[in-house]
Subunit: 191 residues, 2 copies
Amino acid sequence: MAATRDQIMKAAIQHLNESPAASMAQLAEAVGISRATLHRHFSSRDDLMLALAHRAHDQWEDLQTSSGMVAATASQDRAALERALKALLEGLIEVADEYGFGLTDDRLATHPELKRRADELEEREVVFYAAAQRAGLLRADLPARWISNTVFGLLVAVRESLRNGDVARRDVARLLLDTFLHGAAPEKERA
Amino acid sequence: MAATRDQIMKAAIQHLNESPAASMAQLAEAVGISRATLHRHFSSRDDLMLALAHRAHDQWEDLQTSSGMVAATASQDRAALERALKALLEGLIEVADEYGFGLTDDRLATHPELKRRADELEEREVVFYAAAQRAGLLRADLPARWISNTVFGLLVAVRESLRNGDVARRDVARLLLDTFLHGAAPEKERA
DNA sequence: AGCATGTGAGACGAAATTGTCTCAAACAAT
DNA sequence: ATTGTTTGAGACAATTTCGTCTCACATGCT
């Protein structure tokens, strides 16, 4: 069974999303290669996880640019910020869904190198949210870091919803955006 | 070092919140007892985790009653539902904070017996949210299960915020309630 | 003092996982 | 066809964790 490094990583991610604690042997089987071959591509389990996390972080970083988040933060333009916010959240859903296991894996979250990178990326988003607050796009009475953590939490909610089959995949983006921006109370309500 | 079963569990929970993958040896050390004694109280690691989860579920279930959630669901009374919603969310913060590691521990989430109990408790909340929707307290255009998952996600956000020190403990309840009900957009805004 | 109970330290084997290695078979390229 | 590369199967030692067990010691009670 031949497999490129890329195919291995994709299959590994897919399996880790179902069994976050899978062993190297289980991952090799899921990929369809032998344990020896898996070790030829990734010298250790840490190596593999590092590579997967690095890939996820790359996609995340690319999204921050492609969504216009970076540019909008710099421009402080309200319309640009609004477009970027929507694109960012929609993109985050995809990344978070693909690398879902990473959302709640403690070993990844506490890995020094990975934590540094994640903190750095998250910090950019905090700055972006702060800019959105100044533009009147997001409430100014909420800490920007809380907003950032809220988005993270809602991504976890999306993952849960999809895993349980509670909502259809095509609906999650709308639900996330809507809930994040307007909350769960009716518009006229003041609770 | 003498310790009651209760003290052991409390100390174990505390340590697991910092090191979710802690071994029995590490837990024993954190509790301040020997590994042998820990095994005298809990025959296996599974046994300990089961006991901890059971305790968490009990508190959760108690909260569903003490918050008035159960009664309000049955009564369909709008004011009662509103009071219950507030009390439930505030109580969930405490439970989720105390047993934070359980929010994202895959081994607990997939344990058949625990999953059954958690699903059962969550189902009650879904019914409650549905009642709140009928009473006009929550938006009717959101799936009740999505609302339930949203609350779960926001609890994860709370845990993250407290771990990182992003927000003060006394503020989290207000932030959670406020964000959950009204979202992150300014009231006049329509994004 | 004498006795019973609980505890800590540590040894022990069992099991799982990891990373390395060897060797034979399959494969690709020339 | 031959050569060089890659792969799979499996053996291997090292490590970790777990659950059990023994034994000495302390603590409390009568």
